[in-house]
Amino acid sequence: MIPPKEITYAGGGVLSAPPEESFVLNLGPQHPAAHGVLRIKMTMDGEWITRAEPVIGYIHRMHEKMGENRTYAKFLPNTSRIDYLAAMHYTHAFVGAVERGARIEVPLRAEYIRVITSELQRIASHLVGWGAWIMDLGGLTPILYAFDDRERILDLMEHICGARLTYCYYRFGGLCNDVDDYFLQGARDFVPYMRGRLKMYRALVTDNIILRKRLEGIGIIDAEMCRRYGVTGPVLRGAGVPYDVRRAEPYSIYPRFEFAIPHYPAGDSMARYLVRMDEMEQSLRIIEQALDQIPAGPVMGKVPRVLKLPAGDYCYAVEAGRGRFMVRIVSDGKDTPYRVKLRTPCFANLSPFEEASKGMILPDALAMLGSLDLVIPDIDR
């Protein structure tokens, strides 16, 4: 609860006392702009929001409890269902935490394939977020183009692991199977294709005057607010902080690659939009480099038959599509984790919404909600 203070409405009006005729608008749990089952209790003064309180938990699926009552390997499929749009990243974090605890060495080829698939996944994730967001803003066509591109990525992923969404492709110590030339060639072909598409999206969507008017200066989350709320990912980079887990806490073989961390200082929805668009280009750069350098070799390291982690706790963070995802495994030396904590980016990214949406008009608040690019099961876990 934020103590009541003076609210300045978009457009200039100031509200210092509680409005006399306010009403509560229950947005969700089933609402087209909620991207799932998010519910926001909005106290409205006309179309202006005086207070917007997210109510979550409508898709709480006990991932953390499940982690405690099954072995490490059995928990692995769960990780791709937390944020199903960035399944590779989430599996990566869990696999990484276990590898860190059990001191498992991962072969170099496996690391390269992890990076390639992770970056492909990032593009796919941003594409869905982008398309769904533009759909929230009323532009109904871009999402179909985005899904078209995404299908190309999914085809490649399906070729290597058989699933379209929930891959479970990384295993402790490597990968479940090697990639073939079809995948590598497909990834290589995808890079120039996607570059062309991004150019088209810039001309068609980014430069659209209506879109710019709707996003520029809307929903400002500045760097200080991000810090106090622990916001990460494109939202943080849209506030001008070049923080990326791939640089800050280097994992896998990311230090080998050259890439920039796009960041824009404005902190508004447009900045977050531009960050995502630029990130896709950077991901393509990483894929290109990784494809050039990929060595031959095995994709599975030496893994003990019964996986047990020494007592203690192990953290492993990755840069997922929506921000920093961290797994904290607390082990007591048995073959099941004692506690699995999943620190998900959307949870932290949604928390400043209440403060930031104060005094906004309803469509702007929804534009901002879209700019956070939420995946609700990721919040609720």
Partner: protein
Amino acid sequence: METPVNAPPTPDSPVPPECSQIVRFAKLDDLLQLSRANSLWPLTFGLACCAIEMMAAGMARFDLSRFGAEVFRPSPRQADVMIVAGTVNKKMTPAIKTLYDQMLEPKWVIAMGNCAISGGPFVYPGQYAVVEGVDKLFPVDVYVPGCPPRPEALIEGILKLEEKLTGKRRFPVAKLKE
């Protein structure tokens, strides 16, 4: 779990034959069912992972609109079929029941994905959050298994629902080669 409104009279139904001949306007009824089957408007209602595949089914590659089923209505009043795409948990139960009640007759439910069918991977002894199958909450017409099901599977589910309404299949089934 049949929806009672559209259940075709079966030989062993309790309605006496002469009565059913009087009340049933066979041709008109068939026509209406044909219309309903070809314009199944789903409710915009995504829960979890399956919702992404539901969206993918509506997109250019799979294109649900070929069968006139791409009109995703956000208001339950205007929707005909509710695609429960994802896990339903106990906190969500009152909301999803309300949504079902708000939909107007005739209405159908497709349970998409293992979570909606049985609770899927989230069921284990002593679980505290997940509803083990939406058919515990309201009648389900078509079950589409998978985790998540492919978009083709959802389209097949919708065609199955059409088949349930009209009694005929739109496309012949491809025979698997031995």
